[in-house]
Symmetry: C4
Subunit: 124 residues, 4 copies
């Protein structure tokens, strides 16, 4: 059962400073784009990352297997280049099949957890 | 008065570790799908839960009575199988009548409260 | 310039316990439906509140003047009956002219602030 | 590649008191409208700010260059007038080309971080 859209966007991207819990993957400040692929085929996504003061970065290529969810952490993207912390960005995600995208940030800069989340904007 | 849609989805599901407040149902880390059924008949929902590295789980069957709201806690689902904590998941909710679905997470892993919430994605 | 919709809904309503900051209106745990009326005439809203285990409450009647925003606090509604704290609810808001509705919760049960917010679901 | 809408709105605007972290731009309580302009031309936005008890303020004029994101902080707007802290407001954003708008608040009144975020309401 196919579900979702092929193009999504988020406007408020920001990976806070790692903070005092940096040693724990789960609690270190991070931001994720969670992808749900309900199709019976893999979804191939291309991410373009926009910045305040330079040309966009990308393409970042992600594959989400059939009938799986993949929570992409922006702070762990490496190719073609890492996304720096403490830098405003935005992101467009283009998929070859319909998927669902949701953004979530965990901010633990001060040693406690703050969270935000929103379904991304369906842009096609 | 009927309101909403019959198919909804959320992409960023995660039930954090129970945390130091685990003894209090209201404050223990949890995640909920809140359902509003404004119809004059019961709503019968089937939930399918997707994971990162295995085939989907389900069907989870939920009934929301006519003119009622029901805040389903993912950490309390038991049949056909519990949803483990500290595991990325996603969820598709199919109803036989239009309903509204909103996702909310309470994260109290570190002994303070963090919250996130979003209206789910209407997928039909 | 008119903007928005005439019917909105939220599914995850909850006013947490007042908490240790109860003496400060701004910091006491609360939940709000923020209404924006961009019209050149007043907006007259009727709220219906749904519960888990009883028939809906209402109508709650709210007027938002022309070109104004009004952040309605659910914990301050009195007529026809207060909405109890620590009780799951949901809400449908019907307006006679298009408006915008956004839900926000401030949870200070443990003496720190947690926030959630989402644009409500446009239901017409 | 153009993406988004020309008119957006948020209903729950609020810049909390600056708080004990006021000396740090990143941690001082603030609210932002993050704009993504994927077009190959600049986007010119006009913001109108609505209040509870007075006529709207504006126009606030913002330019977001081609292929850039700009996270507008409401607490830093100066022309035609500042937006006061601890005051309920709402905002309509009109652009000459399609853009994406997301609202985010950081509340550090009590010395810890709380976050909320939502994609704004697409109003055209």
């Amino acid at each position: 059962v196919s579900l979702g859209r092929k193009r999504w966007a988020i406007a408020d991207g920001y990976v806070p400073a790692a903070g005092p819990l940096a040693g724990d993957d789960r609690l270190r400040s991070h931001e994720a784009a969670s992808i749900l692929n309900t199709n019976d085929c893999d979804a191939h996504l291309v991410l373009t990352v926009y910045f305040h003061d330079r040309e966009p970065a990308g393409p970042y290529r992600i594959t989400v297997p059939a009938r799986r969810t993949h929570h992409i952490r922006f702070d762990e993207l490496r190719e073609p280049e890492p996304i720096p912390r403490e830098t405003e960005y935005a992101c467009v995600l283009q998929s070859d099949v319909p998927v669902l995208v949701q953004q979530t940030r965990l901010d633990s800069r001060l040693g406690a957890i703050a969270l935000l989340s929103t379904i991304a904007f369906p842009a096609d």
